[in-house]
């Protein structure tokens, strides 16, 4: 393939990014059209060469302040969502979320606040064994996913919350969880091992057993 070498002027305009106002419109259109959150990187890959999506986002966010629709951040991605105070207008659109069991809700909270959390840690906190169904349900909803293995004996798998979880609960990131700071200050997020030989709660060994080694390796990132 042969190409005419571009003149200096053409080259200039070829690599000149569109004006910021235009970039803002682009980000607006993309976020508007995409129900899922979009990362800055993806925005830039879809916009013309040389665009600064982060700056355009900052402008856009400001523009939508106080509107019926907001620009929200979810981890390193961005999305448009209706303002929560107008939820009552949207009864028609409400999607019935599957009712979570108390065990599932508590397990989810423990994972969110203690992440990365192993199954043994969840069981230690709740004082009962965690059923596979509970974990499966949360995984299926894509509210939790497998994290890295812990560097402790047995290299147990861990669970962490996902961006879908953050999006669902309107959190920018896991550090925004309500009351996280206070819980940490009160020492309630420490993993304090049980004193003495009288470990309570379900048998730890069970945990190791029902996890075929390598299987969860697949999910590790």
């Amino acid at each position: 393939m042969t190409m005419q070498p571009p003149t200096e002027e053409e080259e200039q305009s070829l690599f000149k990014a569109p004006p910021m106002g235009e970039q803002e419109r682009m980000v607006e259109a993309i976020l508007f059209a995409t129900p899922e959150a979009v990362t800055v990187k993806e925005l830039e890959s879809r916009m013309p060469h040389g665009c600064d999506a982060a700056e355009a986002l900052a402008h856009l966010r400001k523009r939508y302040e106080g509107r019926g629709v907001r620009v929200v951040r979810i981890d390193d991605a961005w999305a448009m969502r209706t303002a929560p105070d107008l939820g009552y207008l949207m009864q028609k659109e409400t999607v019935e979320t599957r009712k979570l069991s108390r065990a599932a809700i508590e397990t989810l909270a423990i994972i969110a606040y203690h992440q990365p959390a192993t199954r043994a840690e969840i069981e230690e906190i709740r004082g009962v064994s965690v059923s596979r169904g509970t974990i499966d349900q949360l995984l299926e909803m894509e509210w939790i996913r497998f994290g890295r293995r812990k560097m402790t004996p047995g290299r147990p798998v861990t669970f962490v919350v996902t961006p879908i979880f953050l999006d669902h609960f309107g959190l920018e990131n896991a550090r925004d969880l309500p009351g996280l700071k206070e819980l940490r200050a009160a020492g309630l997020l420490e993993n304090r091992p049980p004193v003495g030989s009288f470990a309570m709660g379900p048998d730890r060994e069970e945990d190791e057993e029902d996890e075929a080694p390598g299987q969860s390796e697949l999910f590790e990132d």
Binding site: A33, R81, G87, R102, I110, G127, L188, M200
Partner: protein, 263 residues
């Protein structure tokens, strides 16, 4: 209520309210998520900050709960009984003066850890409640309703390495030795060939002639070729008999087969 075995707990006579609470607990035992959950519920009857909880009193309450369950012949899961045994042990540790010869944590340390566990569980429950009470996607705030089609421009780029290329070539060059089911055409005389040949020859077969004389030239010496040619010629002959052009006979088993033009 007269049969309440108060004498079992001389050091802490449960109040009426506690007894009623304990009974309600037992009735509801299925609804509990394990002994720690029961302990947390019992601890609420103390109406104090979990940090100031009397673990000793809690142990009494729990043991009374288990005792009551036994009286009512309610089967408690093993872990409830394990907890009871542990609390009985804890109680003795808390009540007796520490034995300096004994190793391990003191009663106070064990009690402190239990209090921590209860506080931590309660904290997680509160956190879970706060989490669930947040504005939630699909309930309080909403994503874009209409999904706009994002056209996916998908392009596939094919690639191969030099190794692929060489292996591919090597594969072809060495295939002959192993190629399965490839008929060696050189040594096969097809029925179509035989039929064509026979049609040209039968005009001359007025007398009975051995079928072997109809074999094509050069197919008689190599046994493999001979077998193929014989089979094809025989099959072609049968076909011609069927068509009414030829007569065929064999005087005995394995005797020569003779052919003659049908007059």
């Amino acid at each position: 209520m007269t049969d309440t075995p108060q004498d079992l707990f001389p050091e802490a006579t449960p109040t009426v309210a506690e007894r009623m609470a304990a009974e309600a607990l037992i009735v509801d035992v299925e609804g509990f998520e394990g002994p720690l959950d029961v302990l947390l519920t019992l601890s609420r009857t103390q109406k104090v900050d979990l940090r100031k909880i009397s673990v000793l009193e809690l142990a009494h309450q729990y043991l009374a709960f288990v005792q009551k369950a036994k009286q009512l012949r309610i089967e408690l899961a093993a872990d409830y009984l394990v907890m009871a045994a542990w609390l009985a042990f804890l109680k003795s540790r808390l009540l007796l003066p520490p034995d300096p010869t004994e190793d391990g944590p003191t009663g106070e340390e064990l009690a402190a850890h239990l209090a921590f566990q209860l506080e931590r569980l309660q904290a997680m429950r509160d956190a879970a409640a706060r989490l669930m009470a947040r504005d939630r996607l699909g309930r309080d705030f909403f994503a874009r309703g209409q999904v706009e089609e994002v056209t996916r421009v998908r392009s596939v780029r094919y690639t191969a390495t030099l190794l692929d290329l060489m292996q591919g070539y090597a594969r072809i060059r060495t295939r002959d030795e192993f190629r399965p089911f490839v008929m060696d055409r050189d040594k096969v005389f097809t029925m179509e060939q035989a039929l064509e040949r026979m049609r040209g020859l039968i005009g001359y077969a007025a007398d009975w002639t051995d079928i072997a004389s109809y074999l094509p030239e050069g197919w008689g010496s190599d046994p493999v070729r001979r077998r193929s040619a014989t089979a094809a010629t025989f099959a072609a002959s049968l076909e011609l008999v069927k068509e009414g052009h030829l007569e065929i006979r064999q005087s005995d088993t394995f005797a020569p087969i003779h052919l003659r033009k049908r007059s």
